[in-house]
């Protein structure tokens, strides 16, 4: 039973993928603290390692064109096991949203509003996001083009403004870190920014995609998103050099260093607001997906009336996640990749294999 009848065009789907990946370029501090000046290499490795996973997602999308993830799980694993996996995924979506809301709260507190308690910032953001979620997928992804184009222009402007402070020799020495760091870096980048594309398995039913379109939109979205992460990372490395792992938010510090005379300096408030809007887009997509998953689990189509309750749960859950931002960064670096790997790679792979097997069986019977 289709929970949300909203239909979006292929372009909106692609641009929301781009926005989704771009918004995680804001919080690359966990990556740069692991692999200092080779982070840009890690992004390329991560992208290459992630391409097979995108194939898995695409196959699942084409195998079940009008079923979202929860329905797929029910159909492939049967009612009991399907429900268990469904609950795992709902917990995954909820904690992803809460993590991002927590990041937003910390980021805003660090950049703009130093004394305001981050709870108020979170509540305001979730409140506005609930407006989008109440009106379904159409509204959530409607402004994806607008956001991604604005942020791309912002990136280009900030690179131009920082041109005089970019020192290319900050990229040296290349590949001088122990191999273990590179493995950790790649694993980190494939799970945190890229792995979250799994949520689009919940959104694909409202985009009528054939095989060619699915490939085009998925790969173009993923490609452009990775390119923009690469640009942000190279800018941070080039400007900060060896100070990269000292700052909690390298992107913010790079923006603070723009100083072209009296007027064109101290402008990071301007830039950080636009980055916050991008993070808002990611939060509203994740928030929508969690509400969709919950209402799909109870297969009720009263999606609108669950949004505020889910919002309250997300904010409260976000407050209980980690006692302090330092702990949050610490565990995000070391443990979370392992926690997300099964959810983002192993279970979808298993689902695909079982799904193909079931489909072939059905074809034989019919």
């Amino acid at each position: 039973m289709r929970v949300d009848k909203g239909l979006i065009t292929g372009n909106q789907f692609m641009f929301s993928i781009i926005c989704f990946i771009q918004s995680s370029s804001l919080l690359t501090s966990f990556l740069t603290s692991v692999t200092l000046q080779d982070s840009w290499l890690i992004v390329i490795f991560g992208a290459i390692f992630f391409i097979p996973v995108i194939f898995i997602y695409r196959e699942i999308m084409l195998l079940f064109p009008d079923k979202n993830l929860i329905q797929i799980l029910d159909e492939v694993y049967g009612p009991i096991l399907g429900k268990v996996f469904g609950i795992i995924y709902i917990w995954f979506f909820l904690s992803l949203t809460s993590l991002n809301v927590l990041d937003l709260g910390d980021f805003t507190k660090l950049t703009i509003m130093h004394e305001t308690p981050s709870v108020v910032l979170m509540i305001m953001c979730v409140l506005v996001a609930s407006i989008a979620v109440r009106h379904g997928i159409g509204l959530v992804t409607k402004y994806s083009t607008f956001f991604s184009v604005t942020v791309s222009c912002l990136l280009i402007i900030s690179v131009l403004l920082l041109l005089n402070q970019i020192k290319l020799e900050n990229f040296l020495p290349i590949l001088s870190l122990p191999f273990k760091k590179y493995v950790q870096g790649t694993h980190l980048i494939t799970t945190i920014p890229f792995g979250e594309l799994l949520v689009f398995l919940m959104i694909h039913p409202s985009v009528k995609l054939n095989r060619k379109q699915a490939t085009k939109y998925l790969f173009w979205g993923f490609g452009l998103g990775t390119v923009s992460i690469l640009v942000v990372l190279c800018q941070n490395i080039a400007v900060l050099g060896n100070m990269l792992d000292m700052f909690a938010l390298p992107t913010l510090v790079t923006l603070r260093l723009i100083n072209l005379g009296e007027a064109l300096s101290r402008m990071e408030v301007l830039f950080s607001v636009i980055l916050i809007m991008l993070l808002f887009f990611k939060i509203s997509v994740l928030y929508y997906v969690s509400v969709l998953a919950v209402s799909q689990m109870f297969n009720t189509n009263q999606l609108r009336y669950l949004s505020l309750a889910a919002g309250a749960l997300i904010v409260c859950y976000a407050l209980t996640l980690y006692p302090s931002p330092v702990e949050h960064a610490e565990s995000a670096k070391n443990i979370t990749p392992f926690v997300w790997t099964p959810i983002e790679f192993l279970i979808p792979l298993l689902t695909l294999i079982l799904g193909k097997f079931k489909k072939r069986k059905q074809l034989k019977e019919a």
């Binding site: 108020v120 060896n242 603070r256 260093l257 101290r266």
Partner: protein, 395 residues
């Protein structure tokens, strides 16, 4: 549908009003309740765990904007002082007994007195890096004397000496970015043991009542942040030329024919560092500079072609001596301000690990190969100076 929309918006409105009412505005600081800090000075207090903090605040005089203070006392700045162990306590104390809270966003410059710098500045920088309000592009300046005095000094161009300092140093940095040492540059050099930090050194000189500022050179620090010496104005030029990226400046040459002064159009220095077979560090600078003849005195009986070739030799010699001189004095101090170690680390990380712990000694025995080539394209507006012979001129 419309009825639900009305109830929803009304409810959301109430929610927001509850939120707003109950919360109040944390961050809101009305503009007339703040003081704009334009300069911070750190001095050595009597007993040595304390540090004197003095803050320069631009007084927004209630007189109508635009009219200069006629009475000439020109005290458009207030100096607040306090003396505490840590900077935060000092600022908190300043905050207490005064009607407005200082904001550090517009702080232009951080002055540290030389004798405080001798004991080490790393721990003082930490407070400025961590505070969200402080900017990272604040200039760090070492004052040969009292920092507080510098803040109180009153210069003609700019009433507020913080801004005056920033503008003078900004002018200097047109010559080369090396002159203006920002907080982040100093911190990155402090943190990286392969390069030793430098900071601009300034002295306040007051002839009769007029005070003016003399940029004396650079203060050199070791990796723990203690000031171990300084280089004067001439040696500073040697350092700056060796770092490359020079866009302005002048070179004066004295020789038997007369005196000549040149303007530097551009000067670039390529550096590479390698270990020669004896395990000794070999540093090679090759500098190529384009100079314009600014002024010629003497050189009577020389044809322009001879003049040009002669001047090229002279300038190459002059540049070589200055760079060698500075390099030698740095080797005596054992402070690698050129970043020779940094280049080694970047290009040959493995060899750098071997030399890392005793880098000062390796640096002080390093031998320098220098090759300078100068090009003099133009001679300004006049082709020949007045006394020169008229000969065929192919410049």
């Amino acid at each position: 549908m419309s009825m639900r929309l009305f109830k929803k918006t009304a409810a959301l409105g109430i929610l927001i009003s509850i939120l707003a009412g109950f919360s109040g505005c944390w961050d809101s600081k009305e503009i007339d309740t703040i003081q704009i800090v334009t300069g911070v000075g750190l001095d050595k207090a009597e007993n040595d765990e304390y540090v004197d903090i003095s803050i320069q605040i631009a007084k927004t005089s209630p007189s109508a904007p635009g009219t200069k203070d006629s009475n000439g006392n020109g005290d458009s700045k207030i100096i607040l002082e306090s003396s505490k162990q840590t900077i935060l306590e000092g600022v908190a104390e300043l905050n207490l007994n005064n009607s407005r809270s200082p904001i550090f966003h517009h702080n232009q410059v951080l002055l540290i007195s030389a004798d405080l710098a001798k004991e080490g500045i790393t721990e003082y920088l930490d407070a400025f890096m961590r505070d969200r309000e402080a900017r990272l592009e604040v200039l760090v300046v070492i004052v040969d004397g009292e920092a507080k005095e510098m803040l109180q000094a009153d210069f003609e161009q700019e009433k507020v000496s913080g801004i005056f300092l920033r503008r003078t140093i900004r002018l200097l940095s047109n010559v080369t970015p090396e002159y203006s040492v920002r907080m982040i540059d100093l911190a990155s050099r402090l943190r990286d043991e392969s390069i030793s930090p430098v900071a601009t050194l300034v002295r306040l000189e007051d002839n009769d009542d007029k005070k003016n500022l003399l940029v004396e050179g650079m203060a050199v620090f070791d990796s723990e942040g203690k000031m171990i010496g300084n280089i004067d104005a001439d040696e500073m030029r040697g350092y700056v030329w060796a770092m490359g990226k020079v866009e302005q400046g002048r070179v004066a040459v004295e020789c038997e024919y007369g005196r000549a002064a040149f303007q530097i159009i551009s000067m670039d220095c390529k550096r590479n560092v390698k270990l020669n077979e004896k395990g000794q560090v070999n540093v090679s600078f090759d500098v190529d500079a384009t100079l314009n003849i600014g002024e010629l005195r003497g050189f009577e009986n020389l044809t322009p072609s001879e003049l040009i070739s002669h001047l090229i030799e002279e300038t190459e010699g002059e540049i070589e001596d200055t760079i060698k001189g500075t390099f030698q004095s740095m080797q005596d101090l054992g402070a690698d301000i050129y970043g020779v170690g940094l280049d080694l680390k970047r290009h040959h990380p493995k060899q750098w690990d071997k030399l890392k712990d005793r880098w000062e000694d390796y640096f002080s025995e390093a031998e320098l190969e220098l090759d300078v080539n100068v090009r003099i394209p133009g001679t300004g507006q006049i082709k020949k100076s007045l006394e020169m012979e008229d000969g065929e001129n192919e410049s």
